[in-house]
């Protein structure tokens, strides 16, 4: 019924190679985009903005970034929090150092700064593999957080070491600072998510993505067929850090507006993004979105049900929330180790044949 290729004829190679070859899928995608851009901005309110949509968008970018590194290139990283901090602090320094520069370019530049830092910390990946690498990236995590906490230059010598985002505008509308309207911050992030997801999707389909995957599947074999591990691993670290840096910059400037590095970009953040990637599905852009949505919405949902609807004590609810989230993670890993993306694929297969499965 749905998702059927029948009657969907391709007359050129370009058509055959497109991202969504099935017409139904393509239209569904257009509808989602249209709703995101044209409907949600009109119905959004503060709560949805700050607690649901911005977290979802920001973590989607971070998850796509980590997915490029871990899912496509096979390098497990636990330094995501540290790299997000680089993005946030680069953003802060650029915002305060060049007040005239449009925030849009500030965020992109922050991404480039993070990419450079990411490449430096990616160098050990040439020697260190597997869990050793995962733990080694923790060095980046702890060192970067310590650095931003310790060197006063990074937080402009403020008394407490907090950084605060001043108000910046795009086309005359504030997107950072407390006075920014919900729809503006939402759209600002959405533009980034859209552009980056599109870029990621096409990068992973192209020669670069194929090289990453070759390295992931077996790096020695890849090296023998002429894929350079040095440039491939480093590009993966650079691209991944670019994404994560942008996520960090948006996290700080648009979502929160004030950040303390030890708390906001600690190791928990690294784990959280890795969860999103793995629960969503390694090596899948859709999976990154699904994972982010799952881990952002589930706690909010559980909290609202248990405290709001059922009126339980907040402590019990918070502990039960941990129990349920932990339990669900284990459950999902058992039920579908390849993540929500694999579930989605199965669902699509089923829908294709529905209602006549034989």
């Amino acid at each position: 019924m749905f998702y059927r290729e029948v009657g969907d004829f391709k007359t050129s190679y370009a058509e055959d190679q497109q991202t969504f070859p099935i017409a139904f899928d393509r239209w569904r995608y257009y509808v989602v985009i249209a709703v995101a851009f044209l409907v949600i901005p009109f119905i959004i309110n503060d709560y949805w903005e700050k607690s649901v949509l911005l977290p979802f968008l920001v973590f989607s970018i971070a998850a796509i970034g980590l997915n490029i590194l871990t899912g496509y290139c096979g390098q497990v990283s636990l330094g995501t929090g540290g790299f997000m901090a680089v993005g946030a602090y680069a953003c802060y320094k650029l915002m305060t150092g060049f007040p005239e520069l449009n925030i849009f370019f500030v965020v992109i530049l922050s991404g480039f700064v993070t990419a450079a830092v990411g490449m430096v910390f990616g160098l050990p990946s040439l020697r260190i593999k597997g869990f050793y690498l995962a733990v080694a990236t923790l060095a980046a995590q702890f060192f970067l957080v310590w650095l931003f906490n310790k060197v006063p230059w990074f937080y402009n010598y403020s008394a407490s070491g907090q950084i605060n985002a001043p108000e910046r505008t795009v086309f005359g509308i504030a997107v950072t600072g407390a006075a920014s309207p919900s729809w503006a911050t939402y759209l600002f992030c959405l533009v980034f998510v859209f552009a980056l997801a599109w870029a990621a999707r096409n990068m992973t389909r192209g020669p670069l993505g194929r090289k990453w995957m070759a390295i992931r599947d077996m790096d020695i074999a890849a090296e023998i067929i002429g894929v350079s591990p040095l440039s491939t691993k480093l590009t993966a670290f650079a691209v991944s850090s670019f994404f994560i840096g942008i996520a960090g910059a948006l996290y700080f400037s648009v979502w929160f507006g004030a950040v303390e590095v030890t708390e906001a970009f600690g190791i928990n953040q690294s784990f959280r993004v890795l969860f999103m990637v793995i629960l969503g599905g390694l090596g899948s852009i859709f999976g990154s979105f699904a994972g982010a949505a799952f881990l952002v919405l589930l706690p909010v949902f559980l909290k609202n049900v248990m405290v709001g609807a059922l009126g339980w004590s907040t402590a019990i609810a918070a502990n039960l929330e941990l129990v349920i989230v932990g339990g669900l993670i284990v459950f999902f890993l058992i039920a579908e180790p390849h993540g929500l993306a694999a579930l989605w694929r199965t669902a699509k297969e089923k829908l294709r044949l529905w209602p006549f499965p034989y």
Binding site: R127, V145, V323
Partner: protein, 328 residues
């Protein structure tokens, strides 16, 4: 001897003592990784959970008191008895064995042959679960743990060193006790794995799963045993750290201290965990004392990782890890 040198020696000795405590946590990781190639992130939370259970049993706390009170409107908190430490210890070991069985039944059995990262994630899920569960069961107050270990400055060491060098060294008696316990524990583990039937089976599984299976060793039983032993190690680590600061949530964060120890020592080596712990313990103390003041201090969180990172670049499998052989 100069003051500086004496002080460095004192710091190094204290660092070595702390290193043993790190190694205790790392040991739990190694045991499980060796037998099942699972990087068990939940080890830290297991330590917390074990220590909570120990104190809870000792003080006669009612498990899930808050939950029960919330549901049934009762107001119970304590049974009103004090359990002798030895009995509480035994019961806690029982709980950890039960925990190992449940983990194998509910989680591991279904995840056989999955990629290591999936298993790793499963243990993080498990860690979340246990954090919430432990809190629900025993409450989140700080609990003072007293299992009769000595605490505080060791007079003997202070006086002897004062007579020798004119500068009294500080050694915490709790650290000495912990070092002795750790030594006993490691010896016992080595003896266990060398001279008992189950120990041999453990080593066989660590060597080659398939081969071990084919000679009739039950993988599941081995896993249960390994997790139970890791639970026991977690209990010891939790009790040692808990005696220092009271048993509380932050105890689970000591896992982060154990990770660089593992990198340095290799994930698969028990001596590696000990030596790695000692190197990191002494290294971070000396670094904090001599380099720390120059760059602003509080370096201990990242120094261990950096040390391990630099080390790994030269020896990617860790100090005692098995050489990584890769074939196409």
């Amino acid at each position: 001897m100069s003051d500086q040198l004496l002080f460095s020696i004192e710091a190094a000795i204290n660092g070595l003592m702390t290193g043993i405590l790190y190694a205790l946590v790392a040991l739990g990781f190694v045991l499980i990784f060796k037998a099942s190639e699972i990087f068990n992130y939940a080890q830290g939370v297991m330590a917390l959970f074990a220590a909570l259970t120990l104190v809870g049993l000792q003080k006669g706390q009612v498990p899930f008191a808050e939950l029960i009170n919330a549901i049934f409107g009762t107001n119970i908190h304590e049974f009103g008895w004090e359990m002798p430490t030895a009995l509480a210890l035994l019961l806690t070991i029982g709980v950890m064995v039960l925990f190992a069985i449940l983990v194998e039944r509910i989680v591991l059995r279904h995840l056989v042959n999955q990629a290591p990262i999936i298993l790793f994630m499963a243990t993080i899920g498990l860690a979340f679960f246990m954090e919430g569960f432990g809190d629900l069961m025993w409450g989140s107050d700080i609990k003072a743990l007293d299992i009769g270990l000595p605490k505080g400055l060791s007079e003997t060491v202070d006086q002897t060193t004062f007579e020798w060098f004119g500068y009294g060294f500080f050694i915490d008696r709790l650290d000495v006790a912990a070092a002795i316990v750790a030594a006993v524990l490691v010896t016992a583990l080595v003896l266990f794995s060398q001279y008992t039937r189950i120990g041999r089976a453990l080593r066989a599984v660590a060597d080659d799963h398939q081969a071990a299976l084919s000679v009739g060793i039950s993988l599941r039983l081995i896993w249960v045993i390994v997790w139970a032993v890791a639970g026991f190690v977690a209990l010891v680590a939790g009790a040692m750290w808990g005696a220092k600061s009271g048993v509380q949530f932050s105890l689970s964060l000591i896992a982060l201290k154990a990770l660089p120890v593992l990198m340095l020592g290799g994930f698969t080596s028990i001596p590696g965990a000990i030596v790695g712990g000692l190197i990191i313990g002494a290294g971070e103390k000396l670094f904090e004392l001599w380099v720390g003041p120059l760059i602003g201090g509080a370096t201990e969180n990242w120094f261990a990782y950096m040390l391990a990172l630099v080390f790994l670049v030269f020896r990617p499998q860790g100090l005692f890890g098995e050489k990584i052989i890769e074939r196409v």
